[in-house]
Protein backbone atom coordinates (compact mmCIF):
# COMPACT_ATOMS: atom_id res chain seq x y z
CA UNK A 1 0.00 0.00 0.00
CA UNK A 2 1.28 3.42 -0.87
CA UNK A 3 1.98 6.05 1.67
CA UNK A 4 -0.73 8.35 0.31
CA UNK A 5 -3.36 5.73 1.01
CA UNK A 6 -2.21 5.48 4.54
CA UNK A 7 -2.54 9.20 4.95
CA UNK A 8 -6.05 9.07 3.57
CA UNK A 9 -6.83 6.45 6.15
CA UNK A 10 -5.46 8.58 8.93
CA UNK A 11 -7.48 11.49 7.65
CA UNK A 12 -10.65 9.42 7.77
CA UNK A 13 -9.85 8.20 11.23
CA UNK A 14 -9.37 11.71 12.51
CA UNK A 15 -12.51 12.89 10.74
CA UNK A 16 -14.44 10.05 12.30
CA UNK A 17 -13.18 10.88 15.75
CA UNK A 18 -13.75 14.57 15.24
CA UNK A 19 -17.35 14.15 14.15
CA UNK A 20 -18.05 11.84 17.06
CA UNK A 21 -16.45 14.36 19.36
CA UNK A 22 -18.59 17.19 17.98
CA UNK A 23 -21.58 14.94 18.21
CA UNK A 24 -20.87 14.28 21.85
CA UNK A 25 -20.45 17.97 22.55
CA UNK A 26 -23.87 18.90 21.22
CA UNK A 27 -25.94 17.56 24.09
CA UNK A 28 -23.72 19.33 26.58
CA UNK A 29 -24.43 22.80 25.24
CA UNK A 30 -28.06 22.27 24.70
CA UNK A 31 -30.87 23.97 26.49
CA UNK A 32 -33.90 21.91 27.16
CA UNK A 33 -35.23 19.29 29.45
CA UNK A 34 -32.27 17.01 28.95
CA UNK A 35 -30.22 18.78 31.56
CA UNK A 36 -32.92 18.58 34.17
CA UNK A 37 -32.75 14.86 34.20
CA UNK A 38 -29.04 15.06 34.37
CA UNK A 39 -29.23 17.15 37.51
CA UNK A 40 -31.56 14.68 39.04
CA UNK A 41 -29.29 11.85 38.12
CA UNK A 42 -26.19 13.58 39.32
CA UNK A 43 -27.33 12.85 42.82
CA UNK A 44 -26.01 9.37 43.40
CA UNK A 45 -29.07 8.48 45.41
CA UNK A 46 -31.23 8.60 42.33
CA UNK A 47 -29.21 5.99 40.62
CA UNK A 48 -29.56 2.28 40.64
CA UNK A 49 -26.02 1.96 41.90
CA UNK A 50 -26.94 3.58 45.19
CA UNK A 51 -28.75 0.44 46.14
CA UNK A 52 -25.66 -1.56 45.30
CA UNK A 53 -23.41 0.52 47.51
CA UNK A 54 -25.72 0.20 50.50
CA UNK A 55 -26.40 -3.48 49.83
CA UNK A 56 -30.10 -2.85 50.16
CA UNK A 57 -31.57 -4.08 46.90
CA UNK A 58 -33.84 -6.57 48.61
CA UNK A 59 -35.25 -3.95 50.96
CA UNK A 60 -35.91 -1.53 48.15
CA UNK A 61 -37.58 -4.19 46.10
CA UNK A 62 -39.80 -5.03 49.02
CA UNK A 63 -40.83 -1.40 49.42
CA UNK A 64 -41.39 -1.06 45.70
CA UNK A 65 -43.60 -4.12 45.69
CA UNK A 66 -45.62 -2.77 48.58
CA UNK A 67 -46.11 0.65 47.04
CA UNK A 68 -46.97 -0.91 43.69
CA UNK A 69 -46.30 2.29 41.76
CA UNK A 70 -43.30 1.69 39.62
CA UNK A 71 -43.18 5.25 38.33
CA UNK A 72 -42.09 6.59 41.71
CA UNK A 73 -39.19 4.30 42.24
CA UNK A 74 -36.71 7.14 42.36
CA UNK A 75 -38.31 8.46 45.52
CA UNK A 76 -38.04 5.07 47.09
CA UNK A 77 -34.35 4.93 46.28
CA UNK A 78 -33.90 8.04 48.35
CA UNK A 79 -35.03 6.54 51.62
CA UNK A 80 -32.65 6.12 54.54
CA UNK A 81 -30.66 2.94 54.66
CA UNK A 82 -28.83 1.17 57.40
CA UNK A 83 -25.12 1.77 57.59
CA UNK A 84 -22.73 -1.03 56.94
CA UNK A 85 -19.94 -1.32 59.46
CA UNK A 86 -16.63 -2.96 58.66
CA UNK A 87 -16.07 -6.26 60.47
CA UNK A 88 -19.41 -5.89 62.26
CA UNK A 89 -22.29 -6.21 59.87
CA UNK A 90 -23.22 -9.77 59.14
CA UNK A 91 -25.57 -11.71 56.89
CA UNK A 92 -25.95 -8.98 54.33
CA UNK A 93 -26.96 -9.58 50.73
CA UNK A 94 -23.38 -10.31 49.95
CA UNK A 95 -20.46 -10.16 52.23
CA UNK A 96 -18.02 -8.50 49.92
CA UNK A 97 -16.33 -5.49 51.42
CA UNK A 98 -15.20 -4.34 47.98
CA UNK A 99 -18.21 -2.70 46.37
CA UNK A 100 -16.85 -3.17 42.89
CA UNK A 101 -16.55 -6.90 43.42
CA UNK A 102 -20.00 -7.08 44.86
CA UNK A 103 -21.35 -5.41 41.76
CA UNK A 104 -19.22 -7.31 39.31
CA UNK A 105 -19.76 -10.75 40.71
CA UNK A 106 -23.06 -10.47 42.49
CA UNK A 107 -25.44 -7.78 41.33
CA UNK A 108 -24.32 -7.91 37.74
CA UNK A 109 -22.68 -11.30 37.89
CA UNK A 110 -24.22 -12.50 34.71
CA UNK A 111 -22.30 -9.90 32.70
CA UNK A 112 -19.06 -11.07 34.22
CA UNK A 113 -19.82 -14.65 33.37
CA UNK A 114 -20.45 -13.42 29.86
CA UNK A 115 -17.05 -11.77 29.84
CA UNK A 116 -15.57 -15.11 30.83
CA UNK A 117 -17.11 -16.63 27.75
CA UNK A 118 -15.82 -13.78 25.60
CA UNK A 119 -12.31 -14.68 26.68
CA UNK A 120 -12.94 -18.38 26.27
CA UNK A 121 -14.33 -18.05 22.77
CA UNK A 122 -11.62 -15.73 21.58
CA UNK A 123 -8.97 -18.18 22.74
CA UNK A 124 -10.76 -20.97 20.88
CA UNK A 125 -10.84 -18.77 17.83
CA UNK A 126 -7.16 -18.08 18.15
CA UNK A 127 -6.31 -21.75 18.34
CA UNK A 128 -8.59 -22.65 15.44
CA UNK A 129 -7.32 -19.93 13.11
CA UNK A 130 -3.68 -20.36 14.07
CA UNK A 131 -3.81 -24.12 14.28
CA UNK A 132 -1.23 -24.61 11.55
CA UNK A 133 1.53 -22.48 13.03
CA UNK A 134 5.06 -23.80 12.93
CA UNK A 135 7.59 -23.80 15.68
CA UNK A 136 9.95 -20.83 15.48
CA UNK A 137 12.94 -21.46 17.76
CA UNK A 138 13.86 -18.85 20.34
CA UNK A 139 17.38 -18.13 21.40
CA UNK A 140 18.38 -20.08 24.50
CA UNK A 141 17.73 -18.06 27.67
CA UNK A 142 20.58 -15.87 28.79
CA UNK A 143 21.83 -15.68 32.33
CA UNK A 144 20.03 -12.43 32.92
CA UNK A 145 16.71 -13.91 31.88
CA UNK A 146 17.21 -16.97 34.03
CA UNK A 147 18.11 -15.02 37.14
CA UNK A 148 15.42 -12.44 36.63
CA UNK A 149 12.76 -15.10 36.30
CA UNK A 150 14.15 -16.93 39.32
CA UNK A 151 13.83 -13.82 41.42
CA UNK A 152 10.48 -12.73 40.13
CA UNK A 153 8.62 -16.03 40.16
CA UNK A 154 7.83 -16.27 43.90
CA UNK A 155 6.66 -12.67 44.04
CA UNK A 156 4.43 -13.01 41.03
CA UNK A 157 3.00 -16.22 42.39
CA UNK A 158 2.34 -14.62 45.71
CA UNK A 159 0.73 -11.58 44.14
CA UNK A 160 -1.55 -13.62 42.02
CA UNK A 161 -2.69 -15.79 44.90
CA UNK A 162 -3.21 -12.73 47.05
CA UNK A 163 -5.19 -10.88 44.44
CA UNK A 164 -7.37 -13.81 43.63
CA UNK A 165 -8.14 -14.67 47.25
CA UNK A 166 -8.68 -11.07 48.34
CA UNK A 167 -10.94 -10.18 45.44
CA UNK A 168 -13.87 -9.58 47.76
CA UNK A 169 -11.88 -7.41 50.15
CA UNK A 170 -9.44 -5.37 48.12
CA UNK A 171 -9.24 -4.20 44.54
CA UNK A 172 -8.43 -6.90 42.07
CA UNK A 173 -9.95 -10.31 41.69
CA UNK A 174 -10.17 -13.10 39.23
CA UNK A 175 -9.27 -11.40 35.98
CA UNK A 176 -6.10 -9.59 37.07
CA UNK A 177 -5.03 -12.61 39.06
CA UNK A 178 -5.49 -14.83 36.06
CA UNK A 179 -3.50 -12.55 33.83
CA UNK A 180 -0.73 -12.42 36.40
CA UNK A 181 -0.68 -16.21 36.46
CA UNK A 182 -0.38 -16.12 32.68
CA UNK A 183 2.52 -13.73 33.01
CA UNK A 184 4.12 -16.23 35.31
CA UNK A 185 3.81 -18.99 32.77
CA UNK A 186 5.23 -16.62 30.16
CA UNK A 187 8.24 -15.98 32.34
CA UNK A 188 8.74 -19.66 32.87
CA UNK A 189 8.60 -20.24 29.16
CA UNK A 190 11.16 -17.56 28.46
CA UNK A 191 13.47 -18.29 31.33
CA UNK A 192 13.43 -22.07 31.54
CA UNK A 193 11.75 -23.18 28.27
CA UNK A 194 9.20 -24.71 30.57
CA UNK A 195 6.04 -25.72 28.84
CA UNK A 196 2.72 -27.30 29.79
CA UNK A 197 0.91 -29.78 27.68
CA UNK A 198 -1.77 -27.93 25.75
CA UNK A 199 -4.30 -30.62 26.56
CA UNK A 200 -3.66 -30.12 30.24
CA UNK A 201 -4.32 -26.40 29.96
CA UNK A 202 -7.47 -27.01 27.95
CA UNK A 203 -8.66 -29.43 30.58
CA UNK A 204 -8.08 -26.93 33.35
CA UNK A 205 -9.79 -24.06 31.62
CA UNK A 206 -12.84 -26.02 30.58
CA UNK A 207 -13.17 -27.71 33.96
CA UNK A 208 -12.91 -24.49 35.91
CA UNK A 209 -15.27 -22.75 33.51
CA UNK A 210 -17.70 -25.59 33.87
CA UNK A 211 -17.44 -25.40 37.65
CA UNK A 212 -18.07 -21.64 37.68
CA UNK A 213 -21.25 -22.01 35.73
CA UNK A 214 -22.25 -25.12 37.58
CA UNK A 215 -21.87 -23.43 40.97
CA UNK A 216 -23.86 -20.49 39.68
CA UNK A 217 -26.50 -22.83 38.37
CA UNK A 218 -26.83 -24.53 41.75
CA UNK A 219 -28.35 -21.26 42.89
CA UNK A 220 -31.27 -21.86 40.62
CA UNK A 221 -32.10 -25.10 42.37
CA UNK A 222 -31.35 -23.95 45.89
CA UNK A 223 -32.52 -20.36 46.06
CA UNK A 224 -34.74 -20.33 43.01
CA UNK A 225 -32.69 -18.03 40.87
CA UNK A 226 -29.56 -18.35 38.80
CA UNK A 227 -26.49 -16.96 40.62
CA UNK A 228 -28.51 -16.78 43.79
CA UNK A 229 -26.36 -16.79 46.89
CA UNK A 230 -26.81 -20.09 48.75
CA UNK A 231 -23.66 -19.98 50.86
CA UNK A 232 -23.41 -17.93 54.06
CA UNK A 233 -22.10 -14.42 53.54
CA UNK A 234 -20.27 -14.10 56.82
CA UNK A 235 -19.05 -10.86 58.36
CA UNK A 236 -18.07 -8.03 56.06
CA UNK A 237 -14.34 -7.50 55.85
CA UNK A 238 -13.14 -10.88 57.04
CA UNK A 239 -11.10 -13.07 54.77
CA UNK A 240 -13.51 -15.99 54.97
CA UNK A 241 -16.69 -14.20 54.10
CA UNK A 242 -19.04 -14.12 51.15
CA UNK A 243 -18.08 -17.65 50.29
CA UNK A 244 -19.67 -17.87 46.87
CA UNK A 245 -17.76 -14.86 45.58
CA UNK A 246 -14.56 -16.23 47.02
CA UNK A 247 -14.94 -19.60 45.34
CA UNK A 248 -16.08 -18.17 42.03
CA UNK A 249 -13.28 -15.66 41.91
CA UNK A 250 -10.59 -18.19 42.55
CA UNK A 251 -12.03 -20.46 39.88
CA UNK A 252 -12.17 -17.51 37.49
CA UNK A 253 -8.54 -16.72 38.14
CA UNK A 254 -7.53 -20.31 37.38
CA UNK A 255 -9.58 -20.29 34.23
CA UNK A 256 -8.27 -16.97 32.97
CA UNK A 257 -4.71 -17.95 33.77
CA UNK A 258 -5.02 -21.19 31.86
CA UNK A 259 -6.65 -19.50 28.91
CA UNK A 260 -4.12 -16.76 28.55
CA UNK A 261 -1.37 -19.32 28.90
CA UNK A 262 -2.93 -21.22 26.03
CA UNK A 263 -2.84 -18.07 23.95
CA UNK A 264 0.77 -17.40 24.78
CA UNK A 265 1.77 -20.96 24.22
CA UNK A 266 0.00 -21.19 20.88
CA UNK A 267 1.78 -18.14 19.63
CA UNK A 268 5.07 -19.24 21.14
CA UNK A 269 5.19 -22.83 19.98
CA UNK A 270 2.45 -23.39 17.50
CA UNK A 271 -0.31 -25.77 18.28
CA UNK A 272 1.01 -28.93 16.77
CA UNK A 273 4.32 -28.80 18.54
CA UNK A 274 3.56 -30.17 21.95
CA UNK A 275 6.93 -30.87 23.47
Amino acid sequence: MKETDFNVGKFFAFLFLFIIFIFMLFPLFEQGNGLKIEKEIKDLRNRVSFAYSTKSVTDITKTLKESGDYSKYREIYNQERNDIRFKESANLENGSANIVTSIVLDYRGFDTLGELIVLFISIIGLTIILSNLNFVPFNPPTFLQKTGVLFLTPFIMLTSIYISLHGHLTPGGGFPAGSIIATLSLFLMIGYKFSYKLKFLNFIESTSGFLVFFLALLGLFITGSFLGNYLPTGIVGKLFSSYLILILYSLVSIKVGAELSVAIKTLYDGENNDR
Binding site: P171, G172, F175, S179, T183
Partner: protein, 80 residues
Protein backbone atom coordinates in the same frame (compact mmCIF):
# COMPACT_ATOMS: atom_id res chain seq x y z
CA UNK B 1 -0.40 19.65 41.95
CA UNK B 2 -2.62 16.72 41.00
CA UNK B 3 -3.85 18.73 38.07
CA UNK B 4 -0.37 19.01 36.61
CA UNK B 5 0.23 15.32 37.03
CA UNK B 6 -2.97 14.67 35.18
CA UNK B 7 -1.97 17.11 32.47
CA UNK B 8 1.42 15.49 31.97
CA UNK B 9 -0.09 12.04 31.78
CA UNK B 10 -2.73 13.19 29.36
CA UNK B 11 -0.19 14.74 27.05
CA UNK B 12 2.07 11.72 27.25
CA UNK B 13 -0.73 9.31 26.53
CA UNK B 14 -1.96 11.29 23.54
CA UNK B 15 1.59 11.47 22.24
CA UNK B 16 2.13 7.75 22.58
CA UNK B 17 -1.19 7.05 20.90
CA UNK B 18 -0.21 9.23 17.96
CA UNK B 19 3.21 7.61 17.81
CA UNK B 20 1.70 4.16 17.80
CA UNK B 21 -0.34 4.84 14.68
CA UNK B 22 2.23 6.87 12.75
CA UNK B 23 5.42 4.92 13.26
CA UNK B 24 6.37 2.50 10.51
CA UNK B 25 8.12 0.02 12.73
CA UNK B 26 5.35 -2.10 14.24
CA UNK B 27 7.54 -3.17 17.13
CA UNK B 28 7.91 0.40 18.21
CA UNK B 29 4.22 1.07 17.83
CA UNK B 30 3.39 -1.95 19.98
CA UNK B 31 5.76 -0.78 22.65
CA UNK B 32 4.23 2.66 22.66
CA UNK B 33 0.80 1.04 22.96
CA UNK B 34 2.06 -0.80 26.02
CA UNK B 35 3.29 2.46 27.39
CA UNK B 36 -0.09 4.00 26.71
CA UNK B 37 -1.88 1.35 28.74
CA UNK B 38 0.62 1.81 31.55
CA UNK B 39 -0.22 5.50 31.59
CA UNK B 40 -3.88 4.65 31.45
CA UNK B 41 -3.55 2.41 34.47
CA UNK B 42 -1.87 5.24 36.37
CA UNK B 43 -4.74 7.48 35.35
CA UNK B 44 -7.24 4.96 36.61
CA UNK B 45 -5.38 4.79 39.85
CA UNK B 46 -5.47 8.54 40.22
CA UNK B 47 -9.18 8.52 39.50
CA UNK B 48 -9.82 6.14 42.40
CA UNK B 49 -10.46 3.09 40.29
CA UNK B 50 -7.85 0.62 41.55
CA UNK B 51 -9.70 -2.41 40.22
CA UNK B 52 -9.54 -1.20 36.68
CA UNK B 53 -5.99 -0.01 37.17
CA UNK B 54 -4.78 -3.44 38.22
CA UNK B 55 -6.53 -5.14 35.36
CA UNK B 56 -5.28 -2.59 32.86
CA UNK B 57 -1.74 -2.97 34.08
CA UNK B 58 -1.82 -6.75 34.00
CA UNK B 59 -3.65 -7.20 30.75
CA UNK B 60 -2.97 -4.06 28.74
CA UNK B 61 0.59 -3.33 29.65
CA UNK B 62 1.93 -6.84 30.05
CA UNK B 63 0.02 -9.57 28.28
CA UNK B 64 -1.32 -7.77 25.24
CA UNK B 65 2.08 -6.37 24.45
CA UNK B 66 3.65 -9.78 24.71
CA UNK B 67 1.02 -11.33 22.48
CA UNK B 68 1.56 -8.58 19.93
CA UNK B 69 5.27 -9.19 20.09
CA UNK B 70 4.81 -12.90 19.45
CA UNK B 71 2.59 -12.00 16.54
CA UNK B 72 5.22 -9.70 15.09
CA UNK B 73 7.83 -12.38 15.48
CA UNK B 74 5.84 -14.60 13.17
CA UNK B 75 5.20 -11.92 10.56
CA UNK B 76 7.11 -8.91 9.29
CA UNK B 77 8.28 -6.03 11.34
CA UNK B 78 7.84 -3.22 8.85
CA UNK B 79 4.47 -1.80 7.90
CA UNK B 80 4.06 -1.79 4.14
Amino acid sequence: MIFYIFLIIFILSILSAIISITVKDILFSVLSLGFLSLLASILFLLMNAPDVAITEAAVGAALTTVIYLFGIRRTEREDK
